[in-house]
């Protein structure tokens, strides 16, 4: 009867939805959605505060001093958000096989290519944060479908590369607009750049070079560094792939004010740039390797990235006005409502591609004034800094150090630094240096592994404790937890 079988209005059974091209497009849109949460919360802490770039005055705990345990909330939400995206991608990939007709073959490839691109992206973050992870590749029908054992890093990377190679062959170089073709979806270049990032992580230098080859020249740096972040050049020439924020509600915007702005501007200033001025005072790992000191004189990027807003120093009252610097590059004073910014957040910028390629070229072999120098200098000159040449960077290692410094400054607070330190195998050394200044703290060396592919000393976060209860097949925790 009608009474017992009402229409579930507005709440479509998933079975009825993913049966058409239009339905699948909404499914694909859903795959991207976890990105907004991941970059609003997770990355700031697990890939930002955990590096030597940021510190917090609020709590001397958690990611800043690496005393995260397996019950730490962000460990759980990060894991959860990434698998949300993965499940959604799996669902689209499985269901699209049952859809008989698409408006065009391009559209079919677009749906499959984006799903695989995003599945690869989510797994790439997971494998970097957690190491071996369950490799779920099918739609979840019953809970047991998600109860898989951890797959070795090698297998996860094999899947990532396979998905990205598919994405490279399926995705277009640009989008025309219109439903399902909106600007901001991943392009062929985004897939190549992400694949190159994977190669870089695995020190597959040749592949980095090969996979960045076609991107060079397809983008350009922006004359005004601030335009990379202030919403004026979203999905523009300097952007390869970014998290899209917009609309009016907190669910689709990012609360950068709460994260970075000072209390006087109604922010929490929960993340501050590391600054050697503070000499370990004020809270957590505030100094040592301070990023504030990393900027060379004349660097145009500094005043975009950091600002003091002429405010009293609320942490150190005896210090002069303006002595405390805040992270400025995402602070959106234009958009409303106040705490919500509609500015996109970069995941891969063109500058990153240049630096990746330069790094790989140098690792293959130091060659004075070759392409690697050109790439590095393109960034420096754009920032108002003098170019390097063989006279300033005479060895492979000098180039390496200069490149690492350039990456740090160019990509400051873009949730790259932790991943870089970790893949370079220098995370422990950098953090311990800060801890020594703070005093009486020790980096948890027992939580390091030797990376199965690169052999580098590599830090892993714990698998969330709750998974051991709900997935009997997980069994093994990471070392040190």
């Amino acid at each position: 009867s009608k009474i017992l079988e009402p229409e579930p209005e507005g709440q479509v059974a998933l079975d009825n939805l993913l049966t058409t091209e239009e339905g699948l497009i909404t499914g694909v849109n859903g795959i991207f959605q976890p990105l907004q949460g991941i970059f609003s919360g997770t990355m700031v802490q697990l890939a930002g505060r955990s590096s030597d770039d940021t510190w917090t005055w609020r709590k001397e705990t958690e990611s800043d001093i690496f005393n995260i345990d397996e019950t730490f909330g962000l460990i759980e939400t990060t894991w959860e958000n990434h698998y949300r995206g993965i499940t959604r991608a799996n669902t689209v990939l499985d269901r699209m096989l049952l859809v008989e007709s698409f408006s065009s073959e391009e559209m079919r490839l677009l749906i499959e290519g984006q799903s695989k691109f995003m599945r690869a992206y989510y797994y790439f973050n997971l494998v970097r944060f957690y190491g071996d992870v369950p490799l779920v590749l099918q739609e979840i029908i019953v809970p047991a479908d998600g109860e898989l054992p951890r797959s070795p890093i090698e297998d996860v990377y094999a899947q990532i590369k396979s998905d990205l190679n598919d994405a490279v062959s399926m995705l277009p170089t640009s989008y025309s607009g219109g439903n399902g073709q909106e600007l901001g979806r991943p392009t062929k270049y985004a897939a190549m750049a992400l694949l190159a990032t994977v190669n870089l992580e695995l020190e597959e230098w040749g592949e980095v070079v090969a996979n960045t080859e076609d991107i060079i020249g397809e983008g350009s740096l922006l004359e005004n560094y601030a335009d990379n972040f202030n919403g004026s050049q979203e999905n523009g020439p300097a952007s390869i792939f970014e998290v899209q924020y917009g609309g009016e509600i907190a669910a689709t915007t990012i609360n950068t004010r709460g994260t970075y702005a000072p209390p006087a501007m109604q922010g929490g200033a929960a993340n501050l740039p590391t600054d050697d001025t503070w000499n370990g005072e004020g809270g957590s790992l505030s100094s040592g390797n301070g990023i504030v000191q990393e900027y060379e004189p004349g660097d145009k990027r500094k005043e975009v990235t950091l600002a003091h807003y002429d405010l009293e120093n609320f942490l150190f009252p005896d210090q002069p006005v303006g002595s405390l610097l805040y992270i400025n590059k995402y602070l959106n004073e234009v958009d409303q409502p106040v705490e919500q910014s509609t500015w996109n957040f970069p995941i891969i910028r063109y500058a990153d591609v240049l630096l990746m390629r330069a790094e790989a070229l140098n690792e293959i072999g130091y060659s004075p004034n070759d392409e690697a120098f050109g790439l590095l200098n393109e960034i420096r000159i754009n920032a108002g800094l003098p170019a390097h040449d063989a006279s300033t960077l005479g060895t492979q290692d000098e180039f390496r150090q200069a490149l690492r410094k350039e990456r740090r400054v160019e990509l400051a607070f873009e949730s790259k630094r932790y991943f870089d330190l970790n893949r370079w195998g220098i995370l422990e050394a950098r953090i311990q240096f800060q801890m020594d200044i703070k005093g009486e703290l020790t980096f948890p060396s027992n939580r390091l592994i030797s990376h199965p592919i690169t052999g580098k000393s590599y830090f892993l976060y714990p698998i969330p404790l709750v998974e051991f209860s709900n997935n009997a097949n997980i069994q093994v925790q990471n070392p040190g937890y």
Binding site: L4, E7, N90, S469
Partner: protein, 1099 residues
Amino acid sequence: LFQIQANSYSQSKKISLNMPNATVQEVIQEIEELSDYKFLLNRKDVDVTRGVSIKVNKKLITTILDELFNGTNIRFEVLNKQIILKKAKIPIEKNIKLSQIGQTLNNLDQFQISGTVTDQDGTPLPGANIVEKGTTNGVTADFDGNFTIEVSDTNTTLVVSYIGFSTKEVSLDGKTSINVQLTESAAGLDEVIVVGYGVQKKSDITGAVSNISEEKLQSRPTANFSDALQGRSSGVQIRQSGGDLDGKFQIAIRGVGSVTGSNDPLIVVDGVPLISASFSTINPRDIASIDILKDASATAIYGARAANGVVIISTKKGKIGKPQLTYSSDVSIEHISNRYDVMSTEEQRLLFVEAFKNSNRSTAVYDDPSNPIWQIDTDWQDIGTRAGIRQIHNVNYSGGSEKSQYSATASYESRTGVLLNTDLKTYSLRTNLSTQVNDWLKISTNITGSYQPQNYSDGDNWGAAGYRGFAYQHSYTDAYDENGELAGVGTASAPYFGANTNPLVPLLLPTRERNTTRILGNFQANIKLMDGLFFNTNLGGDLVQVEGYNYTPLYEIGRMINTQGSVTVSNNSDTNWVADATLDYTKEFDKHNLKLLVGVSAQQFLLRRTSAFGTGTIDNALNQLSNQTSFNSTGSNVKGGLASSFARLNYGFDNRYLLTATVRRDGSSRFGPDKRFGIFPSASVAWRVSQENFLKNSEVLNDLKFRVSYGLTGNQNIGNFEFITRAASTPYVFGNTVAVGNSASNIGNPSLQWEANKQLDIGVDFALFKSRISGTIDYYDKKSEDLLIQNPIPLTTGVPNPPIVNIGSVRNSGVEFAVFTRNLTGKFKWSTDFNIAFNKNEVLDIGSNSAGEPLEIPGQNIPLSNVPTNLTVAGHPVGAFNMYVYDGIWQLGEEDEAAAWFNAVPGDPKYKDVNNNGVLDAGDRTFVGNPHPKYIGGMDNTFSYNNLSLSVFLNFAKGNKLYNTARNLFSRGVPFVQNFSEASDFWTPDNPSATAPRPSQGGTTTTLATLASTRFLEDASFLRVKNVALTYDFPDTIFEKSFINSAQFTVSATNLFTFTKYTGLDPEASSRESLLSAGIDYTPYPNTRQFNLGMKIGF
């Protein structure tokens, strides 16, 4: 009560005759032979030898008599099975049918009987009912207990009844004036209890049912009916959750059986089951009685919704008698009954200095006591609150003839809340009508319309802006500047003194309106099919419309800046309709008494929600949606329904042995096609020992009844469409345009079914010493099985909502005791009503997780420390408290141990190392208490002398704990919120015996001080003087020759005293509806102490 019994036989019995050439005498004899009719006639008047010929086929008696006496001067009256033949005084015209005349002439031979109804002491009983036995003829006694009734026969019997008194039958024996004395019946054995699709005499009931009479309900002013219920019935616990003037209450009957489903009982108003337990618009003054069905025998008639008990509300109906007009008015003044004890400004300054010192930070700006900021000491709790005023006005008129009764009420309530900018008004109209249309049809309608506009405050939360805001905002900021404008802290001084805001800004500036319109009503028809057999229909509906309008204005007050206004307009429209049809058959033969009910019911719920948010205005005058520049909106439309059939058999033998059997079959839209229908049977038996011959004439024992019942009921309180995998809206953005996104919101479980509740009840009802002592004792054992539980799934499934599965069981067992005693009778009267209920709640099994370990379901996380305080596991109560055990403060000399344990230092709080591993970790959390009381109860003492009566009502609970989140946030010794005074006694090396740990601003100490622990878990046992009321009835002699009939004045005080160790505002606070997070106090709308002046005037 006034069910028409007369003439039912004559309306259904049909007779065939074929008698050519007979006499009237022979025809009469034949009719008496063929039927139960008996003829009464005077042979002088009726010529029985007259010859007639009659041939009729299946005709009613009236038709036959019409034919038989057509053209004669004989008229007849049919009184059920009795036929009276009389000679008419006027000759009858031939063309008029005699039956018509018979009816019009019916009242010609009437006798007027007058009398008085009093109690044993001669006090008049106004409103007593006097009914001529076996007829609908009845009247009501006036204020002096006097009545007059017209009867057709001076040898008839009058049935006289009055609530709370034994019904008496008085044979007139030719008298025309009688005085009737009724005896009080404490046991109320003759009271009629509404049992769902019918009524039953209390003495016939075999299940556990308690009744709260109108008298009790109306004895004190109450905000809503759940408030009126509190403490009145054993085993019924009322918890306040949420914090507004319309009071969100939760009712739990006999503990909590469901873990993740709802524990709300089903609420039925005049036959209309409500969708939810939201009932603020039901005017408590309109309630005539509340019946609470507790055991399976009583509730099973409501099948799938009965597991949590059923509360049946009956509204006031008109009574036979002359019209009565009553006006009542209550005026109350309310004050906050309790407040938080917060630090003074100087105490805070000292805390700042110590905290910053302990966290190795500069104390420079706090050291100087002459800093202007320290000169301010604002008492926010005082500034933000006021004395509340409540006014209630009610006008009721009621009355009725034998055929029709009516009652109508208009009421107006106005409350100004104790929190500034909160108020509530309620306008309501109720009309109840019933009419006996003819011999076989009675129809009635009940309808209420109400409108309740409200300005509300923020709800209860960790950092809510309501009363809680007054507790945590610093005293060293001003509320108003020198111009009387709201003040705020400037940006320059803000950095060192915390993120200060003026709590009056979020309280006073925004507009928060919620207007509820509700129409609740039904239409009932009772059709008599034959003697003892009725067909009843009930069509009802409940329409609730809630409109919300919120406006957040733009303002710039110090550093509190809002540069754009925003508007939220919401509209919730809930429609609930029900249609029932029942057949009701009653048969008495010899000593057997049989009642059979069969019925069908359909109910549908339509829930429509829309909400639109707009922002962008830069002018506070442009405060409507259309003035905004950007928008966001949501909406949903949900339907659900039940299709059911049910049957109930009541059988009694000799009033001694009673049996009730009930079964209901429910189909529900909440479950998938395979599991849609459920069958819920129950049975009960009772033995009225007092009716046995050996006890029948006992002076001591007036009533004794043993009852046993067992049955199955269901709980279907989960969301709709849980059985299918649904798509959730997960929008993404491209450019700045939101794009529709969809993904799985859950994992559907097609085999989902009801939560099954199996309950055994053993009870005794007794009345002793001429009913001076009467009471009820019940033992029950209730097992809820196949619990509706969200079984956790690995996060790798990537789906937000785990499937709901049927797993595990919870047991509630307990004893309920209720007693009513009349301690003193006579001129000075004293009676006591006492009830107490013990309940033990235990989770027997909630299944296991993927790893095979018993499942553990945590409650909601407490903010900041981000850990739950409740844990539901097998072997403990639902939502048992599970947390760190506070173990004092680390002292000097314990440095090494403290450092090894958690990098702690002396002065830091210490928690018990429950798992003895030397460090603080999750394994140190342990079970530390029960959020559910061991026992609850109430006691009402009423004293009266002449026209004066005093009632003192207490309620109490014992054995439950309450988590005081206010202290968890404000007693940590961490600056930048106002701390409670207790944090002033903080640890220093010189004050090692301090009660509070050392203050801190960040770091390990702060982390430790913030942990949710037993430090903030408090005993919430309480004894409350809930109400004291002094009532004076003016003697009616003063109203002689006045238009006023009666007048009553009442002075009362509510929540006069509360004896408790709980340090929060109210030991009955409970902020979270989910029982997984039971017993957490987030500071609901403050409880108040009220002083009330009431009057009631009858015209």
